[in-house]
């Protein structure tokens, strides 16, 4: 083992090992990009080129499914990239100037004095914008709110949404009951009830996670929460885009609705957006 080539003399190992690596690469390419796709005949890979495109990761002509994203009948709002960009255009200061009417019912800091009206402070701009837009288009029962929003422009809605989103989070004032782990309400909120096809509330409405446009519920007014769940169950409110909330609310018993509203109205948010 001591008679290797001296430093400086040509070393054939380079050629052998690099050559081996190149051959390995070529074999892997032929197998992975040509042979396997052509024998597997996976969907969208009808012909040779389609199969090759799939292997590369290129959407092929035949395999490319177009997914139209359009507003559903439940709401005119769709969470497209364009909508999301639009949401960043809201001006919170202008919104604040316009919010004087809102403040009469929803409170000067976005915390309402009358428990029938929801708190708006600290909600995401997306959640507020969607509800305003739905009131305006009549997708959500607009008996009261319709009067106020019908005259507002698109930009006004964005500004108001930005304003309420910028107000201090009200959740800090509520009691964090997260340690009552065994309560039925917390179980429903954090685990759901798979046998009834109920997803955990907390996965979309916090505190575990927030899906885009879904309102955070911690610290919300208890009667308002109850009222909305009843309206969704009865079908008098139907602006949830994929009917997901109506499906949930219909499954809830009267006592569960009360329990959930009581729990959420008291729980502090520990992971707001």
């Amino acid at each position: 083992m001591t008679n290797g080539a001296r430093e400086g003399s040509p070393d054939p190992r380079f050629a052998v090992w690099i050559g081996t690596t190149v051959v390995l690469f070529l074999v892997a390419v032929v197998v992975g990009f040509i042979w396997l796709p052509s024998v597997q005949k996976s969907p969208g890979a009808a012909d040779f080129w389609g199969a090759l495109c799939r292997a590369v990761g290129l959407p092929s002509g035949t395999g490319r499914a177009s997914v139209p994203v359009a507003a559903q009948s439940a709401s005119n709002v769709a969470w497209t990239v364009a909508t999301r960009r639009q949401l960043t255009q809201g001006n919170a200061i202008r919104g604040g100037e316009q919010a004087t009417t809102c403040n009469n019912c929803h409170g000067i800091n976005g915390i309402s004095a009358d428990a029938a009206f929801p708190n708006l402070a600290g909600q995401s701009a997306a959640a507020i914008y969607k509800q305003l837009e739905d009131f305006k288009s009549g997708k959500r029962n607009a008996e009261v709110m319709g009067v106020y929003v019908s005259q507002l422009s698109e930009q006004d809605l964005l500004d108001l949404a930005a304003h309420f989103a910028s107000l201090p989070n009200p959740y800090a004032a509520t009691v964090n009951t997260s340690n009552s782990a065994d309560s039925a309400a917390r179980h429903l909120i954090e685990v759901g009830d798979p046998l009834r096809n109920l997803a955990p509330c907390a996965a979309c409405h916090g505190p575990l996670g927030y899906t885009f446009g879904a309102p955070g519920l911690q610290g919300q007014q208890r009667p308002y929460l109850e009222q909305q769940m009843q309206a969704l169950a009865a079908g008098s409110r139907r602006n949830d885009i994929s009917e997901q909330m109506r499906s949930v609310a219909r499954q809830l018993t009267v006592s569960e609705v009360e329990m959930l509203a009581a729990y959420y109205s008291n729980v502090a948010g520990f992971a707001a957006r």
Partner: protein, 539 residues
């Protein structure tokens, strides 16, 4: 060690302090998500997981590799290091970056887990902290490469000592592979975290992270393998079976551990199946240096066993000096490497992977390999270095053996049940489970057992720190300097291919372009791949 003692000690102590904190967090996490405890605030759970992962992935092994690298460099080259001030700068950069990142996580502003996959988005200070720590390690890379080059220039035609060759391979590996996460943070995450971009591209971010994600494990593994090759045969009283096989193994680790990272993205739609296959093939190749090592190291141990009078097919095993920490730890390490490696074959197979992808099996796998096989050798390295660094004997050898035994058993108690519940379908990274659900009830007993294992590991980790602390207070006696294993046939001359990295580095770059070029370049023309970030911020 040629004036590097304080430098090396500082790195190891900083590493072990970070380690202790992370281990305590880890045991707490296992307890609170087990049936033995009521549910806790999931935000706290994920905060702890983020701190645990960040510390153990970016801080602890980096400090160990750096400290061990300085020791290897000074001793194997047989002369004092240059650039010691730079080395201290690097050290403080790592410490400052780590402190910044962990403080941000503790404050609840970056509960994004250590992989921080966008669109999850935390405070920019978390990412800047990680970047600072990585930049500190880049200084170390420069020092290793410069010592390697300077020694070679001063000793033309002579073989670079294996220890120096191996740590330089590790440094080059880290240099190339840390660019992935570096680019992800600088070009994608920070602009978004500061609000300069409206959307972030999760697919591109994940591909860049995968550039780092697999090879980082081999960066963690390099000190372990170096201990196998240059310390273990000497400690066992024998010789290294082959110096050249060792060099080949380290070269292969350098070449094959990086262009394979897409096997972490088997379930990702933005990568074509062909590239997943290509990376699977090269993942198979990275098993080769491990197989070489599994041949060379037991062969070296057999030489030692037979020199010590062991006879028969297996008699040499009993003749090995099992009371020495390095020998005992290496055996545990190889056992865990074997078990974990077998599991890894399942992870790397496109089809088999789908049955365990993102389950607790994966957590079990990398804890067994990294927390087990790799980290137990970090302990053994510390036990080997400590008397040389402090000039005092290692305190309580029997406690040292107890420490290694408890770490080995504790890690098996933790990870084997995790593998099992992973196969039963338990997803990883969950803050709590409802074990009263009939579908989950059978997992409860295994999760409880593994939680107990977590406390065995805490005991072992505290024992480690206790022994190392006590070893600073023994009577000062002259200690023999660190000696490296002699090969059966020590190389007098080596071919250029086994004595330098220039051409191999080019091969690494070429393979990266071949295996990662298109998966990265496709984001230049794919449309609508950006999404808004999902900010994780405490109220």
């Amino acid at each position: 060690m040629y004036g590097s003692n304080r430098l090396v000690l500082a790195h190891f102590w900083a590493a072990f302090i970070a380690f202790i904190v992370a281990i305590l967090l880890g045991a707490w996490q296992m307890l609170v998500r087990s049936p033995l405890h009521h549910w806790v605030d999931p935000e706290l759970y994920y905060r702890a997981v983020t701190a645990h992962g960040t510390t153990l992935a970016y801080v602890f092994p980096t400090l160990v590799a750096m400290g061990f690298g300085y020791a290897l460099c000074a001793v194997s080259l047989g002369r004092p290091m240059h650039g010691v001030r730079l080395a201290w700068t690097a050290f403080w950069l790592v410490i400052a970056g780590a402190a910044m990142a962990i403080a941000t996580v503790s404050a609840g502003h970056a509960t994004v887990l250590y992989t921080f996959y966008p669109p999850l988005s935390g405070s920019p200070y978390y990412y800047i902290g990680i970047l600072l720590a990585v930049m500190g390690s880049w200084i170390w890379i420069g020092l290793m490469v410069s010592h390697f080059g300077r020694w070679k220039r001063d000793h033309p035609g002579l073989p670079v000592p294996l220890a120096m060759f191996a740590i330089t391979a590790g440094a080059l590996l880290w240099a190339w592979t840390s660019l992935g996460v570096g680019a992800e943070i600088v070009f994608l995450i920070l602009p978004n975290a500061f609000g300069w971009t409206a959307t972030i591209d999760p697919g591109l971010a994940r591909v860049l992270f995968s550039w780092t994600l697999h090879a980082i494990v081999y960066f963690w593994l390099i000190p372990t393998y170096i201990a196998f090759y240059v310390l273990l045969p000497q400690a066992a009283g024998g010789r290294l079976y082959s110096d050249r096989l060792g060099r080949i193994a380290f070269l292969q680790l350098l070449i094959f551990s990086m262009p394979i990272g897409l096997h972490h993205l088997f379930a990702d739609p933005q990568i074509g199946a062909g590239f997943k296959f290509l990376h699977t093939v090269f993942t198979g190749m990275v098993a080769v240096p491990t197989l070489l090592t599994i041949f060379t190291i037991p062969a070296s141990l057999e030489i030692a066993g037979r020199l010590r009078g062991g006879r028969g097919v297996l008699g040499w095993i009993a003749a090995l000096p099992w009371d020495r920490p390095l020998v005992l730890a290496s055996a545990f390490s190889l056992l865990m490497l074997g078990l974990g490696g077998a599991g890894g074959l399942i992870n790397m197979s496109y089809a088999l992977n789908s049955s365990i992808h993102n389950t607790q099996w994966v957590t079990g796998h990398f804890h067994l390999i990294y927390g087990g096989a790799v980290v137990i050798m970090y302990f053994a390295i510390a036990y080997e270095l400590w008397p040389r660094l402090t000039g005092r004997p290692l305190a309580a050898p029997s406690l040292v053996r107890l420490q290694l035994w408890t770490w080995f058993l504790g890690m098996l108690i933790v990870t084997l049940p995790w593998h099992l519940v992973g196969v039963m379908g338990q997803p990883r990274r969950m803050a709590y489970f409802d074990y009263t659900d009939p579908a989950l009830a059978p997992q409860a007993i295994w999760v409880s057992i593994s939680a107990v294992g977590g406390f065995v590991l805490v005991f072992s980790a505290l024992l480690l720190v206790g022994v190392l602390l006590a070893s600073h207070r023994g009577a000062a006696v002259g200690q023999s300097p660190l000696k490296f294993s002699l090969a059966v046939h020590p190389p007098r001359f080596l071919p250029a291919s086994l004595n330098g990295f220039r051409i191999w580095t080019l091969l690494v770059v070429a393979l990266t372009i071949a295996n990662y070029g298109y998966p990265l370049a496709q984001f230049l023309f794919l449309e609508h791949t950006g999404v808004p970030a999902y900010a994780v911020q405490a109220p």
